[in-house]
């Protein structure tokens, strides 16, 4: 028990590095022993792990800057004159790339990992909430604010600024905000869905002009397939709330089947649920569930439908109880 906090932190970072490259079974046992030695060890490990994972967010800058840049460090022994010449050429490219990066300073890329929902305040006071596994590029210039939704789903809450229109590009869909809230989702089939939650937007498809835009108010839903915009539908307040439940880490499951809910749940979690029985998958659910807790959801679903949860290392299997008893 003579562990100083400093020595514990050092040991913890060593474990994080080993976990990052993958542990063998012997190391796992050693780690378990180390964790059992002192109650603080687990805390120190998780703290170091959290800081380590937090560094991933630096990639926002990486893409604009150093990610395209080859590593600046190489073992010296590998340098030859030929290489030196090549490196000099690289240096020129780097300087040019540096200038481009500076000019593009306003453009940042943000993406979310599995299960991550991220709120991103923008410099103009607007806000973007990114759903799991989504990617946007934000580019602000004095004359306009442009956000490209490259994949996934995002909810925009836009602060009005008549001098700098706010434009969202999602595939072939163009949405111009006029001080408003709206959600855009890119589906895997190329379809783009738009729901206006507040205020008014103009929407048109690429190739068309903004003058021919369709003006939609709060509660409207439309979608774009190819370059064709479907005529808008009106949603109730409750339907809008359901459609934006993901923002609070919830999945609205009212009236959905277990199969559909599990598909949705799996988008948010590394640990997937599998439903092995077609009949079970067709059961209808009600209410809202937390998108970040597949284990609790699986247990609740099992209790509701007389099923059983089999936990494997990387997934949870839902199967009818009869199979289990066999």
């Amino acid at each position: 028990m003579s562990d100083t906090a400093d020595a514990v932190d050092t040991a913890a970072t060593e474990w994080v590095s080993r976990i990052d490259r993958g542990l063998n079974s012997e190391e796992r046992a050693t780690l378990d022993d180390w964790l059992a030695l002192n109650v603080r060890h687990r805390g120190a490990l998780m703290r170091a792990q959290a800081v380590w994972q937090g560094l991933d967010r630096a990639e926002v800058f990486g893409i604009a800057d150093s990610v395209r840049r080859p590593p600046t460090w190489e073992p010296i022994r590998r340098l030859s004159t030929k290489r030196n010449a090549a490196m000099a050429a690289t240096a020129v490219v780097l300087i040019v790339a540096g200038i481009v990066a500076t000019l593009n300073l306003g453009r940042i890329y943000v993406n979310t990992a599995v299960g991550e929902i991220r709120q991103l305040p923008l410099t103009d006071g607007s806000r973007v909430t990114l759903d799991t596994q989504s990617k946007i590029a934000v580019e602000f210039t004095p004359s306009g604010r442009i956000v490209r939704l490259e994949s996934g789903r995002a909810l925009f809450e836009v602060v009005r600024d008549p001098k700098r229109p706010f434009l969202v590009r999602a595939g072939n869909m163009r949405v111009r905000a006029v001080g408003t809230g709206f959600m855009v989702r890119r589906q895997s089939g190329g379809e783009v869905e738009l729901i206006v939650t507040k205020g008014v937007v103009d929407v048109w498809s690429d190739g068309n002009t903004p003058q021919n835009a369709m003006r939609l108010g709060a509660g409207s839903l439309t979608s774009l397939i190819g370059r064709r915009l479907n005529s808008p539908k009106t949603l109730s307040v409750a339907e809008i709330e359901r459609a934006t439940a993901w923002k609070s880490g919830l999945i609205d499951v009212d009236g959905r089947t277990l199969g559909e809910t599990v598909d949705e749940m799996n988008r948010y979690n590394v640990r997937h649920i599998e439903v092995l029985d077609a009949h079970l998958a067709q059961q209808i659910l009600a209410g809202q569930v937390s998108s970040s807790d597949p284990a609790a959801f699986a247990e609740a679903a099992a209790a509701m439908f007389d099923a059983h949860v089999r936990a494997e290392s990387d997934r949870l299997i839902l199967e009818p109880s009869a199979v289990h008893q066999k």
């Binding site: 990052d20 490259r21 796992r28 805390g43 703290r47 800058f61 990486g62």
Partner: protein
């Protein structure tokens, strides 16, 4: 530690990274001002992380920062009572959550460019070859094994650099607001340089 535990660890790590780690500098500043000497702040913080890591479910915690402060507060109260430093009631006015409104403000889910900039700087300020290794691992998302191949160094060397780089980021990044490392405090560095000369 099973595979499954590792997946859970990553999920909890993400939560801690987002809600708890960013409060640490402020918390340390606060503890330094409020807590009687003789109490190891680092020990308390490690133990608080143990508690936060052992919770079955954190999704119900509306204000993780306030929760973190409460955990710290109860740990300190327990330790002080145990050590008989202060009678139970006298402690109640020590690290009080009422100290500042700001403390109770929920941490922003995502910090702005400033915090991201700080993360990025934490990486770019590492000495080489750690800087390159961290950029390859954290920005280019290359596995340690591939980094070792590309840099023609052993996997073991990469692993050691990751551990040591993380160790220095850990201290730097979570250090007390009022006692930032010297390189962040030009005045302190200058003062130090002058006193050497004298």
């Amino acid at each position: 530690m099973s595979n499954n535990m590792t997946a859970e660890m990553i999920e909890r790590g993400r939560w801690l990274a987002r809600h708890i780690v960013p409060c640490e500098p402020q918390l340390r500043g606060w503890l330094r001002r409020m807590v009687p000497p003789g109490l190891e702040i680092d020990d308390v913080i490690q133990e608080a992380y143990t508690i936060l890591s052992s919770l079955a479910d954190v999704s119900q915690i509306d204000n993780p920062k306030a929760y973190f402060y409460q955990v710290i507060r109860s740990l300190i109260a327990g330790q002080l009572r145990q050590a008989n430093v202060i009678a139970g009631s006298a402690f109640d006015n020590t690290p009080s959550l009422q100290e500042s409104e700001e403390v109770l403000t929920p941490e922003r889910i995502v910090s702005g460019r400033e915090e991201l900039q700080r993360l990025y700087q934490a990486i770019t300020q590492l000495p080489e070859p750690r800087r390159t290794i961290f950029i390859m691992r954290k920005i280019n998302h290359l596995p340690q094994k591939v980094i070792a191949e590309r840099l023609r160094i052993s996997e073991n060397t990469v692993e050691n650099h990751v551990a040591r780089g993380l160790r220095s980021i850990l201290s730097h990044f979570t250090s007390d607001e009022g006692s930032a490392p010297e390189e962040q405090r030009p005045l302190a560095a200058m003062r130090k340089a002058r006193s050497h000369r004298e």
